[in-house]
């Protein structure tokens, strides 16, 4: 129990529209333990990005929270005041949004951007201390300390991405929520960034919630993987279990659709399209595309249950 | 018409509708074109002659017969105003069109073609931008003396083309790098085709906005020259009206019905053209276009 850093309980985040609300995150429950990398995998528009920003209440209208709790060390983040939440953001939980490279001010030096962030949370510091702190941070993301004197526009994509992650680390958070942190990076740089997350976990006990559409990168670095589809979690297992014995048919289909060097030829893509989240189908949301569908799947929504130690699945097969 | 052609026709109609339905463009056009039409009609209906001295009694205050009264030389001011509007707008638009066409042609060639042509055109453009146009205009007008209307329009064009040319060249340079240009080249199009078919249409709102500026610039310059007495003075224009008002010290004498209307009309036309250019800016964004 005390090993759980973050616990999400039945979280619902919807988007207001002129008609029905889009149920982007529809009753999601999971936890992130201390010193673990939890991968969150799913196709595009399955709600994973909404979920990632929703954890730190960083959603903007038309998105709104429609129910559930996000417990950090037992306290509900949605029940806190804005001031309390600000204390938690960055200091305890850091967020790295998608294409965060664009979050850097191109005409400001890197050290300036770091110090802005640090001083905003820890008050003014001595210049010497700041410089030392920034150098350490840069080194931890495998960047040479001279980068601090560069302007953001002179850095490559991979460097910018690492700077943003470094900024997230500036206040030693316990948890980093990273939304597609490597999606626009070269494959070697991608490996470097992902290995950096692993190093942070090993050396500083940091937990990482890694959101990605690429299940292959999660296979390389994650400890546990949660599969999300159409706003709901379909399965959570440890990484070996997911790949060796996937429980949910969607997980299997997802794995089959990933190209790898082991098999030549074009992998099988999943037929059909994800459902319209304004009007999701009754019963299981994956039913129209599921090759193991049964009659009950159309009528009744499967319960999300723990069917074994650490194995969660929402499927009528169980 | 088969189904595809019918779809195309409807889309194009809708395209025009977007332009016309845009409130800003509509407003602006109503202001400028509306006034122009009004002025033409009024100039035909008016029994008075704008330049003939002693046409009507002098210094009449505004009345039903003479909505803006008459000036110290016995001419109906309202008639002057409408004729002046027509002439000013015609000079301004002519100069504007000439300047704009030159700017577009040279700007596109320089921007798309690059190379030596670009260097030469850019150099010439920079020279013209740097030359203090007002000073030269004054000198030329003063030296030549009474200049023809045509000459003045051309002079205005000569000094109006340079800056838009520079801007349009930048825009062409930007568009040249767009992906669809690559595809056009792969489809066998040559340089001229690409400029006309691919670059130009994507610059239309931009061109429209700058056309408005060029026209405003020309009208402004014309009014300015006339105001200080260096224009042709052969036809009545808004600037000339202001010049007469100034010479007869209309401002101090409180002849507000004489000096204010031409100034107001100038402002009205400029604002109208500006609003049109803002409207064109709006529809320039392709994502807003559902043609």
């Amino acid at each position: 129990m005390e090993k759980r850093l973050l616990e999400v309980q039945n979280l619902k985040i919807y988007y207001k529209t002129t008609t029905l609300p889009v149920r982007a995150v529809d009753g999601v429950s999971f936890s992130v333990k201390k010193k673990e990398i939890l991968g969150l995998a799913g196709e595009s528009a399955c709600g994973k990005s909404t979920l990632a920003s929703g954890i730190l209440k960083l959603i903007v209208p038309p998105a709104y929270m429609a129910g559930g709790k996000v417990l950090y060390r037992g306290k509900d983040l949605y029940g806190m005041s804005e001031e309390e939440l600000r204390q938690i953001r960055w200091k305890s939980i850091a967020f790295s949004p998608q294409s965060s490279m664009n979050a850097l001010n191109p005409v400001m030096k890197i050290c300036g951007q770091f110090s802005d962030a640090i001083e905003a949370h820890r008050g003014k510091k001595r210049k010497k201390d700041l410089i030392k702190h920034i150098s350490n941070l840069l080194r931890s993301v495998a960047l040479p300390p001279r980068i601090a004197e560069e302007y953001a526009c002179n850095l490559s994509g991979g460097m910018k991405q690492r700077v943003v992650i470094g900024m997230g680390m500036a206040l030693d958070p316990e948890l980093i929520v990273a939304d597609e942190p490597t999606s626009s990076l070269d494959v070697v740089v991608q490996r470097g960034v992902l290995e950096m997350f692993v190093a942070l976990k090993e050396k500083q006990d940091t937990s990482v919630m890694l959101v990605s559409h690429d299940i292959a990168i999660l296979a390389e670095v994650a400890d546990r993987i949660a599969i999300i589809y159409a706003g709901k979690i379909m399965e959570i297992q440890d990484v070996m279990g997911i790949f060796e014995e996937p429980l949910h048919p969607y997980t299997q289909a997802l794995i089959d659709s990933v190209p790898s060097f082991k098999t030549k030829g074009i992998p099988r893509s999943i037929a059909g399209l994800p459902p319209d989240l304004r009007n999701p189908p009754s019963g299981c949301r994956f039913y129209p595309r599921c090759y193991k569908a049964m009659d009950i799947c159309r009528k009744e929504e499967p319960k999300y249950d723990e069917i074994g130690p650490g194995k969660f699945v929402a499927c009528h097969l169980y | 018409m088969n189904r595809h052609q019918r779809l195309g026709f409807l889309s194009r109609l809708k395209g025009l509708r977007v332009v016309v339905e845009n409130k800003k463009i509509l407003t602006g056009l109503c202001m400028t074109v509306g006034w122009y039409i009004f002025a033409i009609v009024a100039s035909y209906l008016s029994p008075y002659r704008p330049r003939t001295i002693g046409d009507v009694p002098v210094n009449l205050p505004p009345s039903w017969e003479h909505p803006l009264g008459s000036d110290p030389l016995g001419r109906d001011i309202f008639t002057q105003l409408v004729h002046a509007s027509i002439n000013s707008m015609q000079i301004g638009f002519t100069a504007g069109i000439v300047a704009f066409m030159v700017a577009t042609l040279l700007g596109l060639i320089a921007g798309y073609h690059g190379g030596i042509l670009d260097s030469v055109i850019s150099l010439v453009t920079e020279i013209f931008i740097t030359i203090p146009s007002l000073a030269i205009l004054l000198i030329v007008a003063a030296v030549i003396g009474r200049i023809e209307v045509i000459t003045m329009a051309l002079l205005l064009a000569v000094f109006g083309w340079a800056f838009p040319c520079k801007v349009l060249r930048s825009q062409a340079l930007i568009l040249k790098e767009r992906g669809f240009i690559k595809l056009a080249r792969l489809s066998g199009a040559n340089g001229l085709e690409i400029v006309i078919k691919s670059i130009l249409p994507n610059m239309l709102p931009f061109l429209g906005a700058w056309f408005a500026f060029v026209v405003i610039g020309a009208m402004e310059a014309e009014a300015g020259l006339e105001l200080i007495g260096l224009g042709p003075q052969t036809i009545v224009s808004l600037g000339l009206m202001l010049n007469w008002a100034m010479r007869h010290v209309a401002f101090t004498r409180g002849l507000i019905h004489w000096w204010l209307p031409p100034a107001l009309v100038l402002v009205w036309i400029f604002v109208g053209l500006f609003i049109v250019s803002f409207g064109l800016d709006e529809i320039g964004n392709p994502k807003l276009k559902v043609k």
Partner: protein, 322 residues
């Protein structure tokens, strides 16, 4: 069998400005490449950003001129082609680009992108025939002509746009297709479809495809050969499967091991060393461009450019195999 398209000794330098002393960066160095008529294969040109692959695409398509060397079409320098020969080159060498939205002129309907080249290359005798050809091509890529024609680019989805670009290729029947990152901006679930269409083009039309990408996993699905670029030079080239299973060049080993595989039993071992090289410093390297990151570097690697060696199952540029 002559080479349809060929790069001989091609080097491309870009100037970085500088008034007194002009600075250059060499984007591509001494590049050799050739594709013969009538072959049916997909060759992957792989490289990370900065490797020069986009420059090579632009050179082969005649958008930029090589600083040294020649790009040849059927034996003739493309920059010396005129008239009908030039048109033939234009038609026979086609491309599909990364961003399907960027590649489309927002002012025109999507029909334009299909009908315009048909008209220019005289592939149909009348407007009706052209529309028919376009519709068939759309069908070939799995699109319904009545749903696509008449629409503007922003009214279509990304997947539809990219398919329409491939339909264009179907209609033109080129000999060579340059596919520059054709799926990197497409939704992951739709990539397989695009790859299938490219494979269909290859098998049905005997077309050769140069698949330019940094994503080796997707390329491996349909490609037979691979050329790996690093900072403008080819490091290794040969049969894709052979090289994947047994890479010899140290950079290629690093690259392939960095591609994430959905196999948690064989995770990454050790750590990769990242290096952010300044472009200006690149020009001063006289030896192998990879030597300061290479775990197997020898003294000669920093002194001389590696020789191009013909091993029995591949070609490689590395002092280790000299």
């Amino acid at each position: 069998m002559e080479n349809i398209i060929e790069a001989k000794n091609v080097t491309k330098k870009f100037s970085l400005g500088g008034i007194i002393k002009k600075k250059y960066v060499t984007a591509v160095e001494d590049f050799y490449f050739g594709m013969k008529e009538g072959t049916q294969k997909v060759v992957t040109l792989a490289g990370e950003s900065g490797s020069g692959k986009t420059t090579i695409a632009n050179l082969l398509l005649g958008f930029i001129r090589p600083t040294y060397g020649e790009i040849r079409y059927r034996g003739k320098d493309i920059w010396k082609l005129k008239g009908s020969e030039w048109r033939k080159y234009r038609r026979e060498v086609q491309a599909v680009f990364q961003d399907p939205y960027e590649s489309l002129n927002p002012f025109y309907k999507i029909d334009n992108v299909l009908l315009e080249p048909i008209r220019k290359f005289k592939l149909a005798k009348s407007k009706n025939e052209a529309v028919k050809l376009a519709s068939e091509a759309l069908y070939d890529v799995g699109l319904d002509a009545s749903e696509i024609l008449g629409k503007y680019p922003h009214q279509l989805s990304g997947g539809q746009r990219q398919r329409a670009m491939l339909a264009r290729v179907f209609a033109l029947r080129p000999e060579i297709l340059l596919a520059d990152e054709p799926v990197s901006m497409i939704d992951v679930s739709l990539r397989a479809d695009i790859l299938r269409i490219i494979q269909k083009l290859e098998k049905e039309f005997e077309l050769s495809c140069l698949y330019i990408t940094h994503d080796l996993s997707n390329a491996y699905c349909i490609s037979d050969e691979i050329i790996i670029l690093y900072l403008g030079s080819v490091m290794e080239q040969g049969n894709f499967e052979t090289i994947i299973n047994n890479p010899k060049h140290p950079y290629v080993k690093m690259l392939i091991s960095a591609v994430p595989q959905p196999d948690p039993k064989n995770r990454w071992k050790g750590r990769v060393e990242l290096q952010d090289i300044e472009i200006a410093r690149l020009e001063t390297i006289v030896g192998c461009k990879f030597c300061n990151r290479c775990p197997e570097a020898m003294p000669i690697c920093s002194q001389k450019r590696p020789p191009w060696i013909d091993l029995e199952d591949r070609k490689i540029a590395c002092h280790l195999y000299a």
